[in-house]
């Protein structure tokens, strides 16, 4: 089972946003979309979830998006936006319950608490969403999405998570917590597609990478094939080298090192 997008073209006004982009993501894998600012990552994700109409075809588990009814799609995949501003003073629990009600597990009242525990927000259920920090709000939204699509597999068919920069406003410990959640979801048979800025976390957790450059795909495949010195230097317009320990660089902190010393995610 796959998510398959072929020949996506998107033009807004005079500006060409995406040009002939194709992407394939397998269930059971974490697929990362990377690229510099303005390269079309988020636009591509919006097309993949059907939020932005574009020419080309998007197939989810073999069916076009439009062939699903809204509630079918909601029970099949959850979408995490970059940031969510709430119009009214909902509590954290009420926000996560909205996700629960949208998914197929609506009759499990304990599930929102488990989702909150997963994103390390135990004890936050009664707090007001609007009073939380940006990173905490982002994790509440992830818990909402998880409550909606809790099981990676449903009746033998994979479910999907679409995450737009899920770790961008998080501290390093919670970045690892969230990436571990995506990995577990994929290991249990679900599919994860994440727009990522952090190349180290991408290298650690992604099975496949699609790299975007000026609205076009600049390559797709396993991490070692895509995150190469020459490709990254060209796409990001900056001389980059992978897996090189810099000389006399002073202190540096890599998420990879955290993983080696503490195999369990810090917050679990």
């Amino acid at each position: 089972m796959t998510l398959q997008a072929t020949h996506i073209n998107l033009t807004l006004g005079q500006k060409s946003i995406l040009r002939d982009v194709s992407l394939t993501a397998q269930a059971g894998e974490v697929t990362a979309i990377v690229g510099p600012n303005g390269s079309g990552k988020s636009s591509l994700l919006k097309v993949l979830v059907g939020e932005q109409p574009a020419s080309g075809e998007v197939l989810l588990n073999g069916q076009t998006l439009t062939s699903y009814r809204p509630w079918e799609l909601a029970s099949l995949r959850g979408v995490l936006p970059q940031a969510t501003v709430l119009a009214f003073p909902f509590t954290v629990l009420e926000v996560v319950r909205l996700g629960l009600a949208a998914g197929p597990d609506a009759n499990h009242p304990d599930l929102p608490f488990e989702a909150l525990a997963q994103v390390d927000l135990d004890g936050y259920a009664g707090r007001f969403y609007q009073e939380l920090s940006g990173g905490e709000q982002q994790r509440v939204q992830l818990a909402r999405v998880l409550a909606q699509v809790w099981r990676p597999l449903r009746e033998g068919r994979p479910c999907w998570l679409f995450l737009d920069e899920p770790v961008s406003s998080l501290d390093i410990a919670h970045q690892l917590t969230v990436m571990e959640i995506t990995r577990r979801f994929a290991q249990n048979g679900g599919g994860v597609i994440a727009v990522m800025h952090d190349l180290n976390l991408t290298a650690m957790y992604a099975d496949r990478v699609q790299i975007m450059h000026a609205g076009q795909s600049a390559g797709a495949g396993p991490v070692p094939e895509i995150l190469t010195d020459s490709r990254l230097s060209q796409v990001y317009g900056c001389p980059l080298r992978t897996s090189v320990v810099p000389q006399n660089a002073g202190v540096f902190v890599l998420p990879q090192a955290a993983r080696q010393t503490a195999p369990a995610p810090p917050a679990a």
Binding site: V79, V85, A101, D110, E114
Partner: protein, 362 residues
Amino acid sequence: MVALTETDRSMGASRAEIPDRRRQARKLSLVLVCLLALAIVINLALGASGTSLWGALAKLASGTPLDMMERVVLWDIRLPRVVLCTLVGAALAVSGAVMQGLFRNPLADPGLVGVGAGAGLGAILSIVLGGFLPVALQEFFGAYVTPAAAFLGGWGSTLILYRVSTRGGRTSVATMLLAGIALGALAGAVSGVLIYMADDQQLRDLTFWQMGSLAGATWEKSLIAGPVIVLSIAGATWLAHGLNCLALGEAAAAHMGIPVQRMKNAAIFSVAAATGVAVAATGGIGFVGIVVPHVLRLATGPDHGTLLPNAALLGATLLLGADLISRTLIAPAELPIGIVTAVLGAPVFLWILLKRRGLVDQ
């Protein structure tokens, strides 16, 4: 992934401490039902004529026929007025709450952003130009002409307002309020031209109607407004989950399985229908739609599943209270009810602005 059956027992204590606002809201509903019943009885019992509700009830119980005065005052004057007041109060409060959910902003209110003015324009059009309709049409629509015209006016202005102030799924509050001012001014100008054209009898009708008064309440008006208001409130509560999801944004609501466009159309239709018949029946009564949902959100949270029914109850109770003041403060004369709700509501609105300035400066 944690299995569905597995629950963490250590979290039990912290869960119990979380106040369940849904349960509080349901308790509040019971209180509001009692308050509404009380308000209905008080409004039936008090009035300029001094006719006693209890005396009449005692007569009914003992089988003695009511005298003419009692029949007219209670059955033809007070009861239709109480029924219409209850319906309109509920309609105004629920329309406000739905509109606020739709525009994702607690300041959106049909009366403030031009929907009431649009409905008013429709009503004035029908009063002044209704005579030009073919006689057959006039006879067919009868007393429904003004409510239907008010509905169309309210619907049109809501559609324009939404179109102007919402781009890419986000509503700009500043644009919404400014567009509301423009729509209100335009409706006011056209209404002015129509009033200029009106003859003496129409002017009397218009003036009476524009004051925003329940004094003209009749059984006929209640019977026209009743089904429309009841249906649109029922329809609105059916939209509750969609409105909750919409608080996260249009895209998020769509990803949560809400057919967003259809839901928005239904919400706009329900707001326009309820506002339209309310305005046609009683003229412009302001601030109920903004004060009632705001107070309820403070008390039991923004969940539309409980907010909308409670808004109907509190809106009806509040308007019955305002009507009581308007009937008794300077009795036997009457204060227009629109003045009473404005005096009570405008300070609350200013207070909301003062407390939560961030709502406007985004």
